[in-house]
């Protein structure tokens, strides 16, 4: 059997690699090795893991700081306001001085509202106009009420000319007194509104 296998071996040894592999095989392998060596540094198991971890941490840090910075000038009602509140809470919990926070807020207000005087003036003018209008309506209402109250007094004056019993006369005079008192009170109120309006004028 060994002899027979030796004959087969003769054929086996005749198997030759192709000419391409003989001539350029090593060159191709050398290039493959060099390429692998270049990548080796970046693909070390520990290095690659820490690199991935570092990139994720860096990304998270950038996003957090970016949002905190963008939300710094946010006002209540803005989308970023909750983030601002959160970042303020974090800063205060980290033990930052409150005075610094107040100063920062003052600076923010200063920068975020460039014309505070004009806007305040406009707002106050608008308010005065509104008050005058309401004063006028109040005045008119009082006048109307006085008229209504005085109405029975006129009727009583007209009816005085006839003969009346002393009880009726007494009752009428009482009613007159009440009416007069009420009218006086309403006129005082009217006076108050007028002075108020005068004070409100710019």
């Amino acid at each position: 059997m060994n002899k027979k296998l030796a004959k087969i071996r003769h054929n086996y040894l005749k198997i030759e690699p192709p000419e391409d592999l003989k001539n350029y095989g090593w060159q191709a392998l050398k290039e493959q090795i060099e390429e692998q060596e270049k990548r080796k540094f970046l693909f070390l198991p520990i290095f690659s893991r820490s690199l991935i971890f570092l990139s994720i941490a860096f990304f998270v840090l950038i996003v957090t700081v970016g949002f905190a910075y963008a939300s710094w000038k946010a006002a209540p009602g803005d989308t970023l306001y909750p983030i601002k509140q959160l970042s303020e809470r974090v800063i205060s919990s980290l033990g930052k001085n409150n005075k610094i926070d107040i100063k920062n807020k003052h600076d923010v207000l200063k920068t975020s509202s460039p014309k505070p005087k004009n806007s305040v003036k406009a707002a106050s003018e608008k308010e005065v106009k509104k008050t005058n209008q309401t004063g006028k309506t109040k005045d008119a209402k009082l006048e109307e009420r006085i008229k209504i109250i005085k109405l029975p007094d006129d009727i009583l004056k007209k009816k005085d000319s006839g003969n009346q019993s002393p009880e009726i006369i007494q009752a009428v005079s009482n009613i007159k007194k009440d009416i007069n008192q009420e009218v006086k009170g309403l006129e005082n109120k009217k006076q108050d509104i007028k002075t108020e309006n005068k004070l409100n004028l710019p």
Binding site: N2, K4, L13, K14, E16, P17, D20, L21
Partner: protein, 180 residues
Amino acid sequence: MRTPGLNKLVSRAQKGEKDAFGKIYKLHLKEIFRFIYFSLRNYELSQDLTQNTFFKAWRALPNFSLSRGSFRTFLFAIARNLIIDEIRRKREISLEAVAEMPSNEDSQEETEKNELKRVVQNALSSLSKNEQHLIVLHFFEEFKFREVAKILGKREGAVRVATHRILKKMKRYLEEKNYE
């Protein structure tokens, strides 16, 4: 193949000298290629696996130690692992392709001899891949049983017993085909 300067080349290559590894490549290219080709019968695939064998050898070179065996044994072990991986990946490699082994004996007088060779080759092909590797490594590549055992990852005694059993199996195959 016993090359006196091989160990020196290996130690130089271990230090990172690519030219030394290039010399090792040229020394072992032929035997690694034929070992792979004999198992797979595919020229292009055998070329790829040969390159891959040397590439893996280069990468594993820092871990290689002569105390665990020769560099040649180390190379054949890598090649064998790649062959097994490839066979697991594609199980459709035809055993009939064994008959395609190159032969220059074209004369009419050699026809009978060729016929015998073909039958022996068929007997070899009827063996499992492990058995084929054992025969090829010991009888064709002239590795000692100790070296074959290292390449196959078995004990030397087990390899000796297996060789004896395989030869008997092949003999029986030839008897069945009337080629004693």
